[in-house]
């Protein structure tokens, strides 16, 4: 009796280990509540860290419409323009919706964009406190880029060549609109957010 209890105790971690690994590798476990739509990005379990150093997954965004862009903080050309565009899209929204929309920026720069670097970026750009700044390891960044259709590549000088995409996500994490390039398209992005709001009511 004693032996079997001991054996069980010894075996339990062994039994649990593969299950835990399976869950972390590929089981898109649905959160409690309503099931996610089939195309929801929130099924992805990629792990990020906020500029405050807190753990973050995409599903943490659930419940609010999202404006999402990828960037890197030492970027001199496209990324400052993207920040300005995100602000301008928000300004085009009716005030009630403006407060509801969450702006999320995810860094490509696995090496240099530490939480501290992201905090510095927030400060120098004067970003609002409710903007979500995220960093991740290579694996996570690759996956979110693939989910969004963003191509990127680190260049020899440490800069990144990358697609410029601003993505509008529904409250359930579905891509409802993407604005490509660096000029125009702001009205359409704002309209996509307004349309989401209309759908809800």
């Amino acid at each position: 009796m004693k032996t079997s209890a001991f054996l069980l105790a010894a075996l339990l971690p062994l039994l649990a280990a593969p299950a835990a690994r399976a869950a972390s590798c590929c089981a898109p476990a649905l959160p409690a509540g309503e099931p996610l739509p089939a195309a929801s990005l929130y099924q992805s379990e990629v792990a990020f860290t906020t500029d405050a150093g807190a753990a973050f997954t995409l599903a943490d965004l659930r419940g609010r419409p999202v404006l999402l862009a990828m960037f890197f903080s030492s970027c001199a050309y496209a990324c400052p323009a993207t920040v300005v565009d995100l602000v301008r899209i928000k300004e085009k929204l009716p005030p009630a919706l403006r407060d509801e929309v969450l702006v999320v920026m995810v860094s490509f720069d696995v090496e240099r964009d530490t939480p501290a670097a992201l905090r510095a970026f927030r400060e120098t750009r004067g970003l609002p406190a409710d903007w979500v700044l995220l960093r991740g390891e290579n694996d996570s960044v690759r996956e979110i880029a693939a989910l969004l259709g963003v191509k990127y590549k680190r260049e020899a000088d440490g800069q990144f060549a990358h697609s410029n995409l601003v993505t509008v996500l529904s409250a359930d994490g579905e891509i409802v609109h993407q604005r490509a390039g660096l000029s125009g398209g702001l009205d359409e992005a704002a309209a996509a957010l307004v349309a989401l709001q209309t759908l809800k009511h």
Binding site: C26, A38, Q43, G149, A161, S163
Partner: protein, 275 residues
């Protein structure tokens, strides 16, 4: 290296000899693709690079599966991970081509032999498979470094026998059904079928931006002159590398094709602490 067209009137005898070799090589394939080979550290030279790209990408030593993942191995994966079965997979991670050639969810069927490479798998699925074995997909530079090896030397481009086999494959349509993964001669590192069977996913496939710089979204035309890539190429003779580059840049992560499979890689275990 001169680019030669393979003659359509090849003698049949070598083909038969190859078949014999294939049968002899079948045995290890049936044992499963667990084995990995060590690819020593080296340097990958990107074939077409922008002025901002490095001339040489150093690659640290790593491990690479000797064989591509087979239908049999992928069947074991979807059996253990139901969310990756064809009928259940999220459209986020795989489009409607996913395992399209299989007879059923857990039945590869007649057009997907168990010892043939699995194809019609998305990048997300390939990654999930690798992670389930505590492995990963090889990086583009790692894959290319390994694939540069010939049969007898680390540089296949200098081996006539190797380049002949390579270009014979490139000029032929994809075999249907695909043959066993074991029917291939091991290369210098002991790896098989990097060429000659299917194309393979790499982890950073989406860095292959043929327009060079997608920041130029607004002025794309100037990047699309035909021949632009070849003109700036470091080795215009490496035709197969161009084909891979073109293929990768055309892929989407949710997509699979009838001639695209994958194999896994892993970091080398840290060497035991020095005595």
């Amino acid at each position: 290296m001169p680019l030669r067209r393979t003659s359509p009137a090849r003698p049949r005898l070598p083909l038969l000899a190859l078949l014999g070799l294939a049968l002899a090589a079948l045995a290890p394939a049936l044992r499963g693709g667990e084995a990995m080979a060590v690819i020593p550290a080296g340097a990958y030279r990107p074939i077409a690079r922008a002025t901002t790209d490095p001339e040489i990408v150093p690659v640290t030593a790593f491990r690479l599966d000797v064989l591509p993942v087979t239908n049999g191995e992928f069947l074991a994966f979807v059996t253990a991970h139901p969310q990756w079965r064809r009928s259940r997979v999220s459209p986020l991670f795989a489009d409607e081509t996913y395992l399209a050639h299989w007879a059923g969810d857990l039945d590869p069927g007649p057009s997907a032999a168990l010892d043939a490479p699995v194809v019609h798998v998305s990048w997300f699925a390939a990654r999930a498979y690798a992670r389930s074995l505590d492995k990963r997909l090889p990086a583009l530079a790692e894959w290319e470094l390994a694939a540069a090896a010939g049969y007898d030397t680390p540089s296949g481009r200098d081996e006539p026998a190797f380049t002949r086999d390579l270009y014979a494959w490139l000029s032929a349509p994809t075999a249907d059904p695909l043959p066993s993964v074991g029917a291939f001669r091991p290369d210098f590192h002991g790896v098989r079928a990097l060429h000659g069977l299917v194309w393979e996913w790499v982890d950073d496939f989406d860095t292959a931006m043929v327009t060079g710089e997608s920041r130029a979204d607004a002025a794309r035309d100037q990047n699309l002159f035909c021949g632009g890539a070849a003109a700036s190429a470091t080795d215009p003779g490496d035709y197969s590398a161009f084909m891979r580059q073109a293929l990768r840049s055309s892929l989407k992560a949710r997509q699979g094709t009838a001639s695209l499979g994958f194999r896994c890689a892993a970091d080398l275990p840290l060497p035991p602490s020095a005595p």
